[in-house]
Symmetry: C2
Subunit: 277 residues, 2 copies
């Protein structure tokens, strides 16, 4: 569960990113994140634990340097027993960035450690926490660990495990357009429809503010799946691997500049350019 | 547009099938179709025009024989000028079955011919018309001719062309779970949200009755996408290939035994078995 805020609204942003945010020349998402964290004064702690590629920390040092952040610390936990000592890298961070890789590395290596506790506490006190791909999946209380691809939901298709727990309002799926994940996001929500599903395309991020309103940044779309008004689901009775009936899902496809209020469950369109022709 | 019925409710069933209906041992869909058409007295006209495989007619003769239909006629139009002469194969049919293949072969070879006119007229008078895969896409007034795969909709992603026109209430997409087609179905509906999108998994059919209520038959799911209550779409202003914003889509995942009222836009769950455990 999220750590309590000192005063309502003091929480930092929670920023799940759909992956591939550094492969696009404009780097709009990372620029926005860097700006939020203080621009040239930002201190970003990079957590590359999801990745087994030893190049990952240096790659993000370069990427953050390109958007004007020179003060980058690396909090690299590769064994659980290293976690407590690693927390020093977090102490003066104004923002934390969790890289991609395998989300089960994040939950198995950081879950229950001082790093996880400190990340929740610092976010509650105003530090912004972003994660891309596996890092995005890990941010919330319920994380999709794995699940087969495909457009319609199957019983047992998605395996949910406890995540970092900065928020429990959303369940995140990433590489959404690119990897055909509507079915597993729907089946994740069918288990218990209280959360809101965020299907994040690559190079697309949800900037979730302290007021639980999110804004879309990036070149793709966010598919918001709201099963809160679900009239019926057959999840409790259907056999594993069989399609799950779901009646009354609400769905929004949001693009850069669109907003969604996670509390009121309402979407607001992006300001429109003039019509064609 | 649909041909007028003689009396309301006299129309035959319209039965789009998501493909692969003959590859599953139970053949529940074809049995149901054969039963509807008169069982052992059924006369089924098979239209293999979508397919370029010369084996297709014989394959369906065998498949229909396996579900008890021995009177199968083949209406094979491979050139537009053959269409008028081919209509004799339709005259005593109690059901018509359009095979898979390429849906643009159906629209380009049959569109505007006596075959298309007669199919509409006979359906209005009570003859049941089923189509699988390409044949399913062709049944309605607006047909998805082609479109890239992917979960979130892009402007111009789906190319809609005029289909056979038995109904204009639905836009059909097939192989839905198997080929990641949520995005192109959403983008088809964003052009004009009046129609209801039916995303048909393989081995899954919508039996659309004369009362415009459909029942799901088969082993997969039908994803019903109802954009009729759309609050906002950016389709008119967004550049081609860019994601389209859509706010307020309703979505239902329906399984065997579920029903959907295309007029009232309401879903009804399948009768449930007893809960597990």
């Amino acid at each position: 569960m999220p750590s309590p805020e000192l005063t309502p609204g003091s929480r930092g942003y929670i920023i799940p990113i759909g992956g591939a945010e550094d492969k696009v020349s404009a780097k709009a998402i990372l620029k926005r994140f860097a700006h939020l964290c203080g621009g040239t004064d930002a201190v970003i702690a990079v957590v590359p634990t999801a990745s087994v590629d030893p190049e990952t920390p240096d790659r993000y040092r370069r990427v953050f340097a390109e958007v004007g952040v020179r003060n980058v610390k690396v909090l690299d936990v590769q064994r659980r027993e290293d976690a407590t000592a690693a927390t020093t890298a977090l102490l003066d961070a104004t923002g934390v960035f969790l890289t991609g890789g395998a989300q089960l590395r994040l939950s198995t290596l950081l879950g229950g450690t001082d790093v996880a506790r400190l990340l929740r506490r610092m976010n509650a006190l105003g530090v912004h926490v972003a994660g891309t791909s596996a890092g995005a999946a890990f941010l919330s209380e319920h994380m999709i660990a794995f699940g087969k691809e495909g457009g319609s939901p199957l019983a047992g298709q998605a395996t949910l495990v406890p995540g970092l727990g900065l928020t429990n309002r959303v369940i995140v799926d990433q590489h959404f357009r690119q990897r055909d994940r509507m079915g597993r996001l729907l089946s994740s929500l069918a288990y218990n429809p209280f959360a809101i599903g965020l299907g994040l395309d690559e190079d697309t991020a949800a900037f979730i503010g302290p007021d639980n309103k999110l804004e879309v940044v990036g070149s793709g779309a966010i598919t918001v799946v709201d099963a809160g008004g679900l009239e019926h689901s057959s999840m409790a009775t259907v056999d594993e691997g069989k399609p799950v009936e779901m009646i009354g899902v609400r769905l929004h496809v949001l693009v850069e500049g669109s907003r969604f209020d996670l509390h009121a469950r309402r979407a607001f369109p992006a300001p429109e350019p003039r019509p064609h022709g």
